[in-house]
Every structure is written in structure tokens, then in C-alpha cells.
Amino acid sequence: MNNDSKKKAGILRNNAFQTIIASLLCIVIGLLIGYVVLLIINPKGAAGAITAILKNYFYYPSQKAMMKYMGTTLVKASALLMCSLSVLFAYKVGLFNIGAAGQYVVGAGASLYFALKLGMPWYVCMIAAVVIAALLGGISGALKAYFNVNEVISCIMLNWISLYVVNMLLTQVKSESTPYTVDLSSGNKSALLPNCGLDQIFSGNKFVSIGLIISVVMAIVVWVLLEKTKFGFELRATGMNKNAAKYCGMKEKRNTIVTMMIAGGLAGLGAAVFYLSGIETWMVQQTTVPGMGFNGIAAAFLGGLNPIGAIFSSYFIQHITSGGSYVDKTMYCAQISDLISAFIIYLCGFVFFFKLWLNRYLDKRDEKKAAKGGEK
């Protein structure tokens, strides 16, 4: 029995376990708040709306439609996953990459430009997206390393600049009479990511492609890179203590730049797997930076800043975001699911405190137990 409780305390003390618990708690509280908001607006439909959000594609009675839209959710989640990996990677190395949004934008710009203007096959477009987004990330990194420019601020500036530049660039490949870029399926089929039979699994959803596999593989690669390799060791050390890194001969400036480049490349890859799947085109008159990069911040934190955790959190955030479109719009507006995910992100800020509190509680409990044991 004693052994049992020790084991329990062991799992409770496990950092990964605590993170999962904390994240789940954020989700539950976030949904509760959302539910309360729904209740206040219109008590009649609240239960229906919250279940619609949670159900997402389970909304459909037919298995076929369900699978199809599960595929769509997965495609979007894979792009989100890449953005969250981008944020997470930088964060682990002590940088806050709020520029994932802009890197995603230039990734989209590069992949569509290479696909439609230069007629390149998908892998070239993908590489172009990664490289160019990496360069953009590298700018923030270099500004930080050489000029001490706060990366958050330079990223914010670059987000806007990227948006304008990409809008300008993609105007060259937009279809004649609309502000949207030409469909890949008509503009350049070879730029579409190969499906590899995945579309068959998802009721012929043609957007499901190897992008899915690429993103999951990248999550694992990022995890291995950070935790298992000498390179990750060095990057993390640089992030935690730049001076110590320099002292022991690491190239701390280079590491800062490389980190931002990798982060940028990941976000760019996210844009590539999304736009090269053909699921969306680019609207060249956008006046706001797409939210994908910002949502990546959310997914990264909800996933406990762990690449594997990010797989699940990205999926979850996309799941409820997509679920939002099934809410009855005559009663509630679509922003309700934004509101819920914003709350969840907000609550992620308390994760650290939650863990601290849990550990203190466990300490106290153990102390009491020890005291009792001592008495006996």
C-alpha cells in the first residue's frame, strides 16, 4: 500500500504528467468560461453550441463526411503544428518568436510564387519556403545578436513588412479578375503535395497529403534535436545563459541566428504544407497578418513547450477552431471559438504556477507523512 502511494506521488511529481494535467485543466476551464459566455448570450443554445465546437467533424452523421472533414482538420492542424514548433523551438533557446506569423507569411509567399510564377515542383517550392522563411527568421536573430534588437519587436515589425511584400509579390500570380492567387490545381499541378494514398483514407479528401506526415516527423525531429543531440545541448545552453555559452566556447551569436533561422524555417515549412496542399489560395489584399503564427504560440504553450505535446495541442486547437464553424450562427457569432481558445491560451500562463502549487502541496503532504511516520 505504501508502495502504491509512493508510485502515485511519483507520477504526480513527474514533470510531463504535471504538464499534461495542467494543459487539460486549461482546456476544461477555457471551455467552461466559453460555456458561461454562451449561456449569458443565449441560454437556449449554449449546450448545443459547446457540443458543436467539441464535436467538430463528428457533426456529420455520415462516416464518409466525417472522415473527409477529419482530414481537413488534420491538414490545418499540421500547419499549426509547424508554427507551434517554430515558437517552441525558439522559446527553448530563450527567444520569443512572435515572428512565426510573418515567417509563415513569407513561407506562403515563396511557395506560391515558386509554384505559380516559376512553375516549380512541390519539393522546390517547399525548400524555397523554408529557406526564405529561415532567412527572415535569421534577420531577427542577427539583429538580436549583433545589434541587441529585442526579437519580439523586430519580429512584430517584420510581420507587417512581410505581409505587404508578399501581397505585392503574389499580385503577380493572382488570377486575373480576383484578388486571390491562382489555384494550384489549375496553375501548376506539379506543385501540389503528393497524396500518397492518404486522401483515400479520408474519403477522397484531396488536400490530405504527405504534409501531414512531414509535420509529425518534424515534431519528432525537433524533439530529438533539442533533447538528444549536441547541437540541441548547445542551443539550449545559449538560450539559458548566453554568457556561459560564450565562456565555454559556443558561438553564441551564431547560435542565436541559427535558432531563429530554424524557427523561421519551421514556420515557413508550415506555410508550405498548407498552401501546397491546395486547400487555400492567397488573398493579395489582406490587411492583417494571418493568425496561424499567433495560434502557434498558443499551441506551443498548451503543449507544455514539448514538441510531442505540440502535436496534440495543435490538433486540439484546430479541432475547436474548426468546431466553431458548426455553431449555430443565428444565435452566436463565429468569434466565440476564438474567444474560447484565447481563454485557453491565457490560462496557459498559469501552468507554471499550477505546477509550483502542486509541488508545494506534494511537499507538504510528504512532510506530514514523514512526521507521522516518525512518530510511529
Binding site: Y59, Y60, P61, S62, A65, Y69, T72, S175, E176, S177, T178, P179, Y180, D183, S185, S186, G187, K189, F207, I279, E280, T281, M283, Q285, T287, T321, S322, G324, S325, Y326, D328, K329, T330, A334
Partner: protein, 364 residues
């Protein structure tokens, strides 16, 4: 042969395109028309907002509407061409009403690679299920033409055009407006005096930036009247106009009520609401198959009587004066109807004009 549908069996759904039903433009007009019709006839009505601005998301909304049991789906906006192409076959029992979708739009999506941008080269019905789709476009260029023509006739010499996003309908309005102003200037022999500023806001709402832009036009450049063509973007034009007694031209419906009667010279209207309602009537009355199915109408002038037309200026609120009277307007309409005057609907390039037209691209 057609079965009359009971209105109560009709489950009407509407899907918005990139905007929302609050865009003070075609989404909103369609929404209001559907809602009103459904209320009057006791049908079910629901609207759907796609998760994102993409063909995939719009298709998803249609799937959702069908899953909810909708059998009449209204799809306002040229962006729905892809949806028509992909889903009209899939749901043969559902009737689609698609205002603003043209044959060209459908061909572009249907043909895909190698499309020549000339729908006449193709048989459009090859690309979608003609049995259950009604499409129509509007001659916005005619509406814009009339507004531009009237403005110059009213004596305004410095004109402005403020579009929303440069979508085809907006551009047609704008290019028609240019042609109308040019024509009137030619008639009056003042082509060297008339000048037209042309810009798009890049959004369907007004804000400080756009108001500043308009202030510059009205205040510094001396623009007298601006055609505010794009949902709520009129707010900025109206705001600026009010400061210097400038004038505004409304769009889509008679906007004098919301912009302000004194500053609204006229409105370039397009009859979106009646189209939707008559199409719904047809389904109810059993005329769908005969009159609507498979058609791609280009709605504009159908009569010499201005008020019968799908594109027109408001009779009551337009600020008619001696230089351009209601009768002059009627005359213009009949000339347009008869083909004495033709308005080009080509939107690939700015129309050739004798008056000076300054194109500033996009504000944002």
C-alpha cells in the same frame, strides 16, 4: 411536370463568401432578402459562415448546410464558382441560387489549367450540374456608368472613386463609372476640365486611414464627389465629405438614408434582393425548372422603364437638377437599353478616356 414545393418544406440556407453578413454589401443584402422571404413564407432559414476564406471552407459550409437538411442554398458572390463546380453534381436534390457568379467564373474553376479567360470558348454546362443551379451576374458597369454620367451632368468636375476590395463587381462599378463620366464630359465638351481619382481601400470598412485619404481628396485636391463603392467604406467618404460639403455616391441599394440625404448625390443600385426573392418564389411556385434551372443570367437592363431594371439610380432620392432631370435619366436608360450607348464590362484594364483618370491602386 414540376411539383410545387410547399414553402414550409423549403429549407433555405445561405453561405457567406469572404465577408460576413454584416458587410453592408451583398452578403448583408442577400441575408436580409432571404430572411425576409423565409419569414413571409414560413420557410426555414439559416446562414453559414465558412471557417476561412477558401473554396474548401465554402464547400464545407455547403456540406454542413446539406447535412442540416437544407434544400435551397443561396451562394452570393463570384467566389462560389468552385462550390458550384464541385457540389452541384454532388447534391442533385438541392437547389443552388448563386448571384454574382458568372459563366466565366465557373469556366475558370471548371477548366482549370489552360483556361483562356474567354468563357465563350467553352460549354459552361459541362462543368456543373445545370439542373439545379441558377446563376446570375449584374451589369454593375451600367449602374456605375449611370452614376458617373449623372455626376458630371450635375456639374461635378472633380470626381473620385473609392472601391472596397478590388473584386470583379467593384471593378465593374468603377470602370462603368469612369466611362459614364467620360461620356458626359464629352457631351458637355469639358473633357479637359473633368478629372477622376481612382483608388481601392482594400477593405470593406472605413477607418482613420481611409478617412485621411478622403480628407485629402475632398480637402486638398478639391474632389467634389466620391463614389464609395464597397460595403461600409462609405463611412470614411461620408465623414470627409461632411467636413467640406462634399458629396458621396452610394452603392448597391439606395444609401441616402444611411449616408445622409443631403450629401448623397445618388446611388448606383443593383437589384440583388429582388433576384433572390424571385428565384425563391419560383421554387415555391414551381417555375424553377422552366425559368431558372441552368440559367446564367446577366441581369441589368430589362426594360426602358428604369424602375424595372436590375441596375438603376434611385428615382426619389437622387439629387436631380435642371442639368440632369429625371427625364434626362429616363432618356439615358432607354439609350442604354436600346444599345445606342454601350458600356464595356471588360475589367482587365482601365477604360480609355478623354478625361484624366488617376489610378492610385490600393490604400492599404
Amino acid at each position: 411536370t414540376e411539383v410545387k414545393a410547399e414553402a414550409s418544406d423549403m429549407k433555405i440556407a445561405m453561405v457567406t463568401d469572404s465577408g460576413d453578413i454584416t458587410d453592408q454589401s451583398f452578403n448583408q443584402t442577400t441575408y436580409e432578402a432571404c430572411k425576409e422571404w423565409a419569414a413571409d413564407n414560413g420557410s426555414d432559414f439559416n446562414y453559414y459562415k465558412p471557417e476561412s476564406d477558401s473554396d474548401e471552407a465554402r464547400n464545407a459550409s455547403v456540406d454542413q448546410a446539406v447535412a442540416d437538411g437544407a434544400n435551397v442554398i443561396v451562394l452570393p458572390g463570384y467566389m462560389f464558382a468552385a462550390t458550384i463546380v464541385e457540389q452541384s453534381e454532388m447534391y442533385p436534390d438541392v437547389k443552388f441560387i448563386a448571384p454574382d457568379v458568372s459563366a466565366g467564373d465557373i469556366c475558370e474553376k471548371g477548366v482549370g489549367e489552360g483556361y483562356t479567360y474567354n468563357p465563350d470558348d467553352y460549354e459552361v454546362t459541362d462543368y456543373y450540374n445545370a439542373d439545379n443551379v441558377y446563376c446570375c451576374t449584374y451589369q454593375e458597369e451600367v449602374s456605375g456608368y449611370m452614376a458617373g454620367y449623372a455626376a458630371v451632368k450635375f456639374g461635378y468636375k472633380h470626381l473620385g472613386f473609392l472601391g472596397g476590395m478590388s473584386v470583379p463587381a467593384v471593378t465593374r462599378f468603377g470602370y462603368g463609372y469612369i466611362q459614364g463620366a467620360d461620356e458626359a464630359a464629352k457631351e458637355l465638351g469639358i473633357t479637359d476640365e473633368v478629372e477622376l481619382e481612382y483608388v481601392c481601400g482594400g477593405q470593406f470598412y472605413g477607418d482613420a486611414d481611409i478617412t485621411a485619404y478622403m480628407d485629402t481628396w475632398y480637402g486638398s485636391k478639391g474632389v467634389e464627389v466620391v463614389f464609395a463603392c464597397g460595403g461600409g467604406i462609405y463611412t470614411s467618404a461620408a465623414e470627409a465629405a461632411a467636413k467640406v460639403d462634399g458629396k458621396v455616391i452610394g452603392v448597391d441599394s439606395d444609401q441616402s438614408g444611411i449616408i445622409g440625404e443631403d450629401i448623397t448625390v445618388t446611388s448606383a443600385m443593383k437589384g440583388l434582393a429582388p433576384t433572390v426573392k424571385t428565384a425563391l418564389d419560383a421554387i415555391k411556385d414551381g417555375n424553377w425548372e422552366s425559368d431558372y434551372a441552368g440559367k446564367i443570367d446577366n441581369l441589368g437592363l430589362v426594360s426602358e422603364n428604369p424602375e424595372d431594371n436590375y441596375v438603376q439610380l434611385p428615382m426619389d432620392t437622387t439629387q436631380w437638377d435642371d442639368n440632369f432631370t429625371v427625364d434626362d435619366y429616363k432618356d439615358l436608360v432607354s439609350k442604354l437599353y436600346n444599345g445606342e450607348i454601350t458600356v464595356s464590362n471588360d475589367i482587365t484594364a482601365l477604360p480609355e478616356t478623354e478625361i484624366a483618370v488617376n489610378d492610385y491602386g490600393s490604400i492599404k
